[in-house]
């Protein structure tokens, strides 16, 4: 039996699974005592070099995680004076007596759907940058994308907050100057009715959509749309549609599905989130974007427009730059146009990056609380409309002093995230 002689290899004669350090022969010969000693010394040195990082990792990364798991089974108020083991009670409470926690997922699902859409501008921007002919301009744009990264997140948050300010904010100034505020005012009255007429969201059809059925406090139509969107995205991304692209009906089928989803989303958004009474907040021209409960979710979704994230763009760009020019040349010979290149070359080949960003975005959306805390306070603003699971967990810990319970909520979030990540790994396929 022969083995390779480079790197870390397995040596059958030395026993299955034995590891050879780089440079050793890895043959069937028994190692001499001196060689063993030499290798032992090397291992000690290597282990010694690894030790600080290992200790740091265990102490500062894994120990707190262990602490979270442990305390999720405790009635713990953050101090030593109240630390009692209570078994699964925290988990039981989360599932049985705490509807607010599950209601907070409604907002997360909306934000997840919105964030999937908000990923596209970054992909587009990366492709535009990648296709720039002038290397000098490409460099300048890359630098311009990096510069905002040095601005602290809190600063950009405060800038955006002032942007939304009812009296002095730039958004209202823009809407007032362009006359769009009147359009919004008209929409407000038309959608909800002006008190005399019933309005669009008060029609029988809208009510039928809105009052379908409810699971965990989330309307059935939302469940259907969310599951449908995830499945179609998964199918599109996994390449199944690409396999059948020779079929002339395929683009129509996928396009039709997309249109249907968009229509369903639009209807659901309109009928489930648009208030059934007019908001009457546009006529004065001082719309309180973060003060009105009905405007909080749209404001949060619009946040960061045009949604070109610097890190995202650079990650996509790195992926794009790995695409060989041969592929483009071959595509050009085949007569593939710009849009074709995007769907058939660029998008499939940066799916690794898309998947990473998708996972980070999902984790960020589900666990984020700082943004909502700074923006809306610990209760998620008026009517708790901005309550997300992370913020709920925060208020359980720091407002109610139920740290043990907050740990249990954290563990539940962790399991949900794990499930979603596995889903992505399984269904978001990557073509090499």
């Amino acid at each position: 039996m022969s083995t390779t002689t480079t790197g870390l290899t397995r040596a059958p004669a030395g026993g299955p699974g034995k590891i050879h350090p780089p440079g050793s022969t890895g043959t069937t010969q028994a190692p001499s005592a001196g060689g063993f000693w030499q290798r032992g010394k090397l291992y000690i040195v290597l282990m010694g070099l690894m030790l600080p990082s290992l200790i740091g990792l265990l102490l500062f990364t894994y120990y707190p995680q262990y602490g979270a798991i442990k305390y999720s089974f405790f009635d713990w108020d953050g101090s030593e004076s109240r630390e009692e083991f209570i078994g699964w009670k925290n988990y039981k409470d989360a599932f049985t007596v705490d509807p607010l926690f599950w209601q907070s997922f409604k907002l997360v699902l909306i934000l997840l759907a919105a964030n999937v859409i908000k990923m596209w501008p970054s992909i587009m921007a990366a492709i535009v940058l990648h296709r720039l002919k002038s290397e000098r301009f490409q460099y300048i744009y890359r630098v311009l994308f990096v510069v905002p990264m040095i601005i602290p997140g809190v600063v950009s948050l405060l800038v955006w907050k002032s942007f939304y300010d009812g009296n002095t904010g730039a958004l209202n100034a823009f809407l007032n100057a362009t006359g769009l505020m009147q359009v919004l005012d008209w929409l407000d009255r038309t959608m909800a009715g002006d008190g005399v007429s019933t309005g669009v969201v008060n029609t029988a059809f809208a009510k039928a959509v809105r009052d379908q059925f409810e699971i965990f406090g989330v309307h059935g139509i939302w469940w259907m749309i969310i599951i449908g969107v995830l499945l179609i995205i998964a199918r599109m991304i996994s390449g199944n549609i690409r396999k059948h692209r020779a079929n002339p009906a395929a683009p129509f089928l996928s396009g039709g599905a997309a249109v249907m989803i968009v229509v369903a989303l639009g209807l659901a958004l309109a009928f489930c989130t648009w208030p059934t009474r007019p908001m009457n907040v546009f006529s004065l021209g001082t719309t309180p974007w973060l003060g009105n409960p009905n405007l909080i979710i749209p404001s949060v979704i619009f946040w960061g427009f045009p949604w070109v994230g610097t890190v995202g763009v650079l990650i996509y760009l790195a992926g794009l730059q790995n695409i060989s020019t041969d592929v483009y040349e071959a595509a050009e010979l085949d007569g593939v146009g710009s849009i074709g290149k995007f769907f058939q070359i660029e998008l499939p080949l940066i799916m690794t990056q898309v998947r990473i960003n998708l996972i980070f975005m999902t984790i960020g959306t589900i666990t984020d609380y700082g943004f909502f805390l700074l923006l809306l306070g610990p209760y998620g603003g008026p009517g708790s409309k901005g309550m997300v699971p992370g913020l709920y967990m925060y208020s359980a810990a720091f407002i109610e002093q139920r740290f043990g319970y907050a740990c249990a909520l954290g563990m539940i979030l962790f399991v949900i995230l794990l499930a979603i990540t596995i889903f992505y790994q399984r269904y978001v396929r990557v073509d090499k």
Partner: protein, 323 residues
């Protein structure tokens, strides 16, 4: 650096564990038994029960049962197990075992009395989630302290605790246990005129008469006795003064305006920060009694309706130029 991220209790605990581990590795040999005892006592001062267990265990093992050192080490070890966090069945069992050893073997009766008393506390309080509260057993322990050590100052507290196990029953509708507890304490006080905890006992009796027995006359009488003896929680007796005044003015069959006025005046003089001084002034005027002086009100006219007071204006520019 991560090491500075000590914001939450968990992180502090994390770092503390490291420090404890390091300290275990580097604890120099203590020079003598005296030093070892001094170090162990310091852990009690700091309420550091974990370290107390670590330091007292070898001292207990090394000492001869019944010796002065053994008494201290075993008693303190029991106390440390009793209060170490988080409490569990095992820690409480260790506490009970050690208290029992003190009761069985300690040469100093003071240690025995207090160990017995603490047994009662263990039975009375719920120490960990599955712990069973046993008031009868607790009372038995307290009564034993009273019976075996009548001359020890702890006997008074034991009597009070024994009575409280009855009062805490709140056994409506007849409140037989509550009444028995109150009667027990009243008898104790009659038999022990110099009881150190007399004020506490009368206050407790007053509270029991007030609620749940709703015997306001006896409640007020009990509080009057407290007032003569001196209130225990000095500075925070404002709510009790208010209660006494209300009982005297509003809840008795024959109102006692003099007593009410006395307590209203006490609120103004002794506890003006209780939040009730202004209302007490109003009450005294209502009762046609003199209103005592309070420096807290020196700058304000207490007779003025505070609803429409004059606003004060400042002109910062002038003020700053003055400085």
């Amino acid at each position: 650096m991560q090491v500075f991220a000590l914001g939450d209790g968990g992180s502090v605990k994390k770092l503390s564990i490291c420090l404890i581990l390091l300290s275990i590795c580097h604890t120099p040999a203590l020079a003598s038994t005296d030093d070892a005892f001094a170090a162990a006592r310091q852990t009690l001062v700091e309420l550091d029960w974990k370290s107390a267990i670590r330091l007292y265990t070898p001292l207990r093992d090394a000492a001869k049962p019944g010796s002065k050192e053994w008494n201290e080490a075993t008693y303190c070890l029991a106390t440390a197990y009793h209060h170490v966090q988080p409490p569990s069945y095992d820690t409480i069992q260790s506490a009970l075992n050690n208290y029992q050893q003190v009761i069985d073997k300690a040469s100093d009766p003071r240690f025995v009395a207090r160990a017995m008393m603490n047994l009662g506390r263990v039975y009375e309080l719920r120490d960990y989630p599955e712990d069973i509260v046993d008031m009868d057993k607790a009372r038995e322990a307290y009564e034993q302290v009273v019976a075996r050590f009548p001359g020890d100052p702890i006997a008074g507290e034991a009597a009070l605790r024994a009575a409280s196990t009855l009062v805490m029953a709140f056994d409506e509708p007849n409140y037989e246990k509550v009444k028995a507890g109150v009667a027990f304490l009243e008898k104790w006080l009659a038999d022990h005129p110099n009881e150190e905890l007399a004020s506490v006992m009368w206050q407790y009796i007053g509270d029991a008469y007030f609620r749940p027995l709703q015997d306001y006359k006896n409640a007020l009488q009990a509080y009057e006795k407290v007032d003569k003896l001196g209130w225990t929680d000095q500075g925070n007796q404002g709510p009790w003064y208010w209660r006494c005044a209300q009982l005297a003015e509003r809840f008795l069959d024959q109102p006692e305006p003099e007593i009410a006025a006395k307590y209203y005046a006490k609120i103004i003089i002794e506890t003006p920060n209780s939040g009730k001084a202004y209302e007490s002034m109003q009450a005294l005027r209502r009762l046609n009694k003199p209103v005592p002086y309070s420096p807290l009100f020196a700058k304000f006219d207490p007779t003025a309706q505070p609803t429409t007071q004059e606003a004060v204006t400042t002109q910062p520019a002038t003020q700053r130029s003055d400085r």
